[in-house]
């Protein structure tokens, strides 16, 4: 089809290689018409930040050349926009702000890139890339099935650690360079809100500098959450911050918490030869996942590996190893609080979630009280003060508001805020934000889980259907000898609305976007099922999935009402 041949002219890349969050050129697929139709069924105000893609490249070029402050709205202010925190959320917001012609500064007290780049998603992907390969090389059965012979694979711990570290600094440099190239001022120091539209910043021990801004975005992110009773020494009891440095590979490590972080680390550690014991407070492992996916994940990612688990227990007390004693973990029953067992392990990784980092922000100056540390915001990320009123010109995005603690969610929220500042009302649809867990195989999801969808269906009185396809029936997956996996679609049979998609299988994290884009654009199952997928590819798993859904309405009427420039 012509769509695949008619990519828009590539945007001139003024920023030298920001590999991550460049949104220069939208890619078109066979669904382009739907995408541009901006389906009117969506409630007003919930349109996502998709402007006409045809205009994007030129706009970008102009802003990149024009630099900072041209067409600036900053009458009487030092900046149009000041962002506190240069993580992925702040970076995304800053880039979009420049594109919108806003004079922008970003305040960073630590290092550019924040958690994701320095202590989170990015270095962990490096470790997981290693663990994935180790796993393949160690799986003799699998290799033999492919006709391969590999003798005694091994790894160099320092080499692996260096890879993670190098990747983090590379991405960090990319982010910094892209900000500089666009003319975003990077101000170093801890940012504090002094008053409405007023921020001070400065390094410890130096006098603070005060700047004014028309709008302020808080994007200070989060830090690992460590429950009380757990003593973190950074050596034998540690959080993901330390674990990512991979200073050693314990023979036996307990991972407290079986969410994304814990699960990914279990993948890394078991591939590198550790044995893992999960400690989970809820009654089942991987509580955040769709139950069916969780069950399969347990079968694929837990049971066959050197992993065991204790569920329904709290780690009441964790003592680091010392004086020749191992790490001691006192477990109590999560409900009765009775002592259950004491684990003796070589190391403990605390992966019990993340806590917002909002200390020192000066929220008291503007009468904002955090809720469990999170900055309260409305659906437009506007900060709410103690008396329930919106604080003008102050927004909070990302982990600090706790709406959805994902790097790309923070970035999307930041872009949404910039849109609002620019005068376009915008509410981000969080149900269209995909999430992924980079185990081997990967897990990804977007929208609601089946129980969530069923609950909503009951309240609102509609029906829910579920369709599933298996990777076992996919040619490409079988060619890779990776037939383990499942894709699951939760949808409304009456309208064809996609409520959620969950995938466990090879490259699930890359596959989810077809579904998340469909949700974001309001594409219905009965329409997307006509989209063509290259054969043989893993994407046919989703193709099959959409095709196997049964929608009661016919094909929805053509939604292209205006001609589309290509």
């Amino acid at each position: 089809m012509q769509a695949s041949l008619s990519l828009p002219p590539a945007a001139p890349r003024s920023d030298p290689g920001p590999a991550v969050f460049r949104r220069s050129a939208f890619r078109f697929c066979g669904l382009r018409r739907e995408a541009l139709g901006l389906r009117s069924l969506r409630p007003a105000g919930s349109t996502r930040i998709f402007r006409s893609p045809a205009r994007t490249p030129s706009r970008k070029t102009v802003t990149a050349v024009s630099g900072n402050g041209i067409g600036s709205l900053s009458k009487g202010f030092d900046y149009d926009l000041v962002i506190i925190g240069a993580g992925v959320g702040g970076h995304g917001a800053a880039l979009h702000a420049v594109e919108k012609g806003l004079k922008t500064a970003i305040i960073e007290g630590d290092i550019v890139g924040g958690t994701c780049v320095n202590r989170g998603c990015v270095p962990s992907k490096a470790l997981l890339a290693v663990s994935g390969r180790m796993r393949e090389l160690q799986n003799e059965h699998h290799l033999n099935a492919l006709g391969l012979q590999v003798s005694s694979p091994g790894y160099d711990r320092q080499g692996v650690a260096d890879h993670a570290n190098n990747l983090a600094s590379k991405i960090r440099n990319n982010l910094t360079n892209s900000l500089k190239a666009l003319g975003v001022d990077i101000l170093t120091g801890v940012g504090t809100i002094a008053d409405t539209q007023k921020v001070t910043y400065g390094k410890v021990g130096f006098p603070d500098t005060e700047i004014t801004a028309r709008d302020i975005i808080i994007a200070t992110g989060s830090v690992p959450f460590v429950p009380t009773g757990i003593e973190v020494d950074g050596k034998t009891v540690f959080t993901s911050d330390h674990a990512l440095k991979l200073e050693w590979v314990p023979e036996w490590i307990a991972i407290v918490g079986s969410g994304y972080i814990g699960l990914e680390f279990s993948d890394v550690y078991t591939a590198l030869g550790s044995e893992v014991t999960f400690v989970e407070a809820l009654d089942q492992l991987m509580p955040g996942f769709d139950p069916e996916i969780g069950k399969l994940a347990q079968r694929v990612l837990i049971n066959p590996r050197k992993i065991d688990y204790h569920t329904g227990v709290f780690a009441k007390k964790i003592t680091p190893a010392k004086d020749g004693k191992p790490v001691l973990i006192e477990l109590i029953d999560a409900k009765t609080k009775e002592p259950k067992y004491t684990l003796e392990v070589d190391a403990a990784l605390i992966a019990t979630g993340r806590a917002p980092f909002t200390k020192g922000l000066g929220l008291e100056n503007i009468n904002v009280v955090t809720q469990r540390g999170f900055v309260p915001v409305n659906e437009r990320m506007q900060v709410i003060d103690a008396s329930g009123n919106l604080i003008p010109h102050l927004y909070c995005i990302g982990d600090a508001n706790g709406k959805m603690m994902l790097a790309h969610a923070a970035s999307a929220q930041g872009i949404s805020v910039v849109e609002q500042i620019g005068g376009t009302d915008n509410v981000l649809n969080h149900l269209s934000i995909p999430a992924a867990c980079f185990t081997h195989p990967e897990i990804s999801m977007v929208g609601m889980t089946e129980p969530q969808a069923r609950e909503k269906a009951q309240q609102e009185g509609f029906e829910v259907s579920v369709a599933k396809t298996s990777f076992k029936a996919n040619t490409k997956a079988l060619a890779e000898n990776e037939g383990e996996g499942l894709a699951k679609l939760i949808y409304r049979p009456d309208t064809g609305e996609i409520l959620g998609v969950h995938i466990l299988g090879m490259h699930a994290a890359d596959l989810i976007h077809e579904a998340s884009n469909a949700i974001a654009l309001g594409t219905r199952v009965q329409d997307i099922k006509f989209a063509v997928h290259a054969h043989p590819t893993l994407s046919e798993v989703l193709d099959e999935l959409f095709k196997s859904a049964e929608v009661n309405t016919g094909v929805s009427p053509p939604s292209v009402n205006e001609p589309v420039t290509v």
Partner: protein, 477 residues
């Protein structure tokens, strides 16, 4: 391209006409097929696709004893294409699960029994255990449940010694044996292996940091137990009737048939193949046994057995050569075992087992003999507990009673050495003073792991052993 919803429902592999199956709407689940037999129905592995010949039990949705109503999901089966929930076609109680999670069964073979009423559950259970082999294709129709009321079949069967089920629970969340006072610390993989290899962790000595049990300890324990492990899982029911024990061994062997390995044979096979990864060598020695024979004659009346004497002599020799009593498990280090536990191979029906004389160097010969008798009796009755057969540090194998004068033995993985003992026979020998005389002599041949035990070690050990046997007064001390 067969998705879940498109599986064929034809059941060409199912053996009986009473089998029915139907799809239950778009969900892609299947009805289980069952065959009536009295009031206990067998649940078969269904054919979920036209190409499916066997299926893997992914998980049992319901547990034994659960009441099932028609159309309920009972089990998730993985076929060559997809995983499917399988439903029951009848009401009843899930009486016995015959194929555990993770195991594979041929299409059409029984995977569980469904009892119509609760009262029939014990009956079904005993029926299930009597046809315990998962692949057993002929249904247990000809051999109904033991009818004799005097037999304790149901209760005996309901409490098989360390059943795989109980150890499964241990793996998931609680450590076993904590009630015995001694806490067992075992790594996740060690626990998994213990479950798979049916090794009881309580009887395994840990060699990891802080004495924790690690995978190699379990492997070693399983290796030493070799064929023994499966024995304990044989339902005690068969013990009550010794004829039944012999039955499988002797009756008419059909020539030209292919016989799948029993669990025990499977375990032996696995261990034997594993043994190939250990570089072994052998050193033989001829030992004069006149003095030992006369000692034996003297104290035989006190219940002392030749096996105990040999074990004792070996143990005493080992005290002077601890390296021969060591074991290497990971190829990087080795362990000087703290106690000398002599395992002695004993042939039993359908295999062999290695009861262990613990601390054979310390226990006096009379106690050792009594202990040996007790172990042999237990072995014959298949009542040996894992700790009684799986912690040997040195193995003895004696084929002398068959008149075998020399042979060599395969080293059980996880131990350092095994000694093959031949028959003691009158032999014409030249003595040092130039005469020719007759002496009883036996040949022993030690197989050892050359990674840790070298030729000189074995030679010195054998020399010590020969001295002890040729002048056996030490043995009765």
């Amino acid at each position: 391209m067969a998705g879940v919803g498109q599986l064929h429902l034809g059941t060409p592999f199912l053996p009986s006409a009473s089998i029915r199956g139907r799809s239950s709407g778009g969900g892609g689940s299947r009805r289980l097929t069952t065959r009536i037999q009295a009031k206990i129905r067998e649940i078969f592995m269904p054919a979920l696709s036209s190409t499916m010949t066997e299926g893997k039990i992914v998980s049992w949705v319901r547990a034994e004893g659960d009441k099932l109503s028609k159309g309920e999901s009972v089990v998730v089966v993985e076929s060559d294409k997809a995983d499917m929930d399988v439903e029951t076609f009848y009401e009843g109680y899930l009486a016995a699960i015959m194929v555990e999670e993770g195991d594979v069964a041929a299409v059409g073979s029984a995977i569980a029994l469904l009892a119509e009423t609760e009262d029939e559950i014990p009956l079904a259970k005993s029926q299930a255990s009597s046809s315990s082999s998962p692949a057993a294709s002929p249904p247990a129709a000809e051999t109904p449940v033991p009818p004799s009321p005097s037999e304790t079949a149901p209760e005996a069967v309901s409490s098989p010694p360390p059943s795989p089920k109980s150890s499964q629970a241990a793996v998931s969340s609680t450590h076993p044996a904590s009630e015995s006072g001694r806490r067992i610390v075992a790594t996740p993989y060690a626990k998994k292996l213990a479950k798979d290899l049916k090794v009881e962790l309580g009887s395994v000595a840990g060699s990891g940091p802080m004495g924790r049990i690690v995978a190699k300890d379990v492997e070693a324990a399983a290796a030493v137990a070799a064929a023994a492990a499966p024995v304990s899982s044989v339902p005690p029911k068969s013990i009550s009737d010794s004829a039944a024990v012999k039955a499988p061994a002797s009756p008419a062997i059909q020539l030209g048939t292919v016989v799948p390995f029993t669990t025990m044979q499977g375990a032996v096979s696995k261990n034997m193949v594993e043994s190939l990864s250990v570089p072994t060598f052998r050193v033989g020695y001829t030992i004069t046994t006149d003095a030992l024979d006369s000692l034996y004659k003297k104290i035989k009346s006190k219940g002392v057995t030749m096996t105990a004497l040999l074990a004792k002599a070996t143990a005493l020799a080992l005290t002077k050569h601890p390296v021969v009593n060591s074991s290497c498990r990971d190829g990087k280090s080795f362990t000087y075992n703290s106690s000398i536990n002599i395992a002695v191979a004993v042939a039993i029906d359908g295999g062999l087992i290695t009861p262990v004389l613990q601390d054979a160097d310390k226990v006096d010969i009379y106690s050792l003999s009594r202990k040996w008798k007790e172990l042999v009796d237990k072995a014959r009755a298949k009542q040996l507990q894992p700790h009684e057969y799986n912690n040997g540090t040195f193995t003895l194998s004696n084929l002398g009673m068959f008149g075998v004068d020399r042979f060599d033995a395969i080293l059980p993985p996880g131990t350092g050495a095994i000694m093959a003992v031949g028959a003691s026979q009158p032999t014409v020998v030249a003595t040092k003073d130039g005469r020719i005389g007759v002496k009883s002599q036996m040949q022993v041949n030690v197989t050892a792991d050359h990674r840790v035990i070298y030729g000189a070690d074995l030679a010195a050990f054998l020399q010590t052993l020969a001295k002890i046997i040729e002048d056996p007064k030490e043995l009765t001390l």
